[in-house]
């Protein structure tokens, strides 16, 4: 299963961590990032810290997306024996996860709201779980998906 995160955004916790770390431990900016700092009239050090905070949060988002992908793959497998999740990509700009499911090697692609996934993964809410199952019902071939309990 391919897991990816497009774009970055930082949490307050990672931002504070990036502010406190010694400058020599922060990866240097590449030329494109230096140009972005210039464009935004921000010092390279300040921008490097923001970029590093974004990197830290991106790794956390990657792990969160992986956990959801594994959970979803198990649910798809239970309900669609010849199906599996092939890829999940979180787009931080649109706030959606693009899910690619393979059913008998045929791809089916659909999107899930990041808020829905976050809410479910942090609360375990049965109602939110039903919403995700409903998305499977809507997007996967009807005869291959059993109704959520």
């Amino acid at each position: 299963m391919d897991i990816s995160v497009r774009g970055s955004r930082s949490s307050a916790q990672d931002w504070v961590r990036a502010q406190q770390i010694p400058l020599n431990e922060i990866p240097p900016l590449d030329e494109q990032q230096k140009a972005a700092a210039l464009q935004m009239r921000i010092s390279e050090e300040d921008y490097a810290r923001s970029v590093y905070a974004g990197y830290l949060s991106q790794q956390e988002l990657l792990q969160r997306t992986l956990r959801f992908g594994r959970w979803l793959n198990a649910r798809v497998g239970e309900r669609t024996p010849n199906g599996c999740v092939d890829a999940v990509e979180l787009d931080t700009w649109s706030g959606k996860l693009k899910v690619k499911v393979l059913i008998a090697r045929e791809p089916v692609i659909f999107e899930v709201d990041e808020e829905l996934v976050d809410g479910f993964m942090t609360t375990g809410s049965a109602e939110l779980e039903r919403s995700i199952f409903r998305l499977l019902e809507i997007n996967l071939p009807q005869q291959q998906v059993a109704r959520a309990s």
Partner: protein, 83 residues
């Protein structure tokens, strides 16, 4: 557009310049400020600030202080792994 967690440049109106002049204590009033956004609400934008020798803090920039916003688009940056 979600601004939370992103680095954003704010172009300030006169009240915004005065506001930053007061909180930074610097002589020059900036026309623009680049900062990381914590969240937005009906009143304005909460930005993260790290002033020298002070602990990090959140500052509310009221909507009426802002003339415009510039946000770099980094859609090309993708990280991934095999799960």
């Amino acid at each position: 557009m979600r601004l939370a967690g992103r680095t954003v440049t704010f172009f300030l109106g006169e009240d915004g310049k005065e506001f930053f002049h007061r909180i930074t204590g610097e002589e020059h009033s900036p026309d623009l400020v680049t900062a990381d956004v914590e969240e937005t609400d009906d009143v304005g934008i909460w930005i993260r600030m790290q002033r020298r020798k002070s602990p990090a803090s959140l500052v509310l920039l009221r909507w009426e202080f802002i003339l415009g916003i510039e946000l770099p688009v980094d859609t090309g940056k993708v990280v991934g792994l095999k799960g």
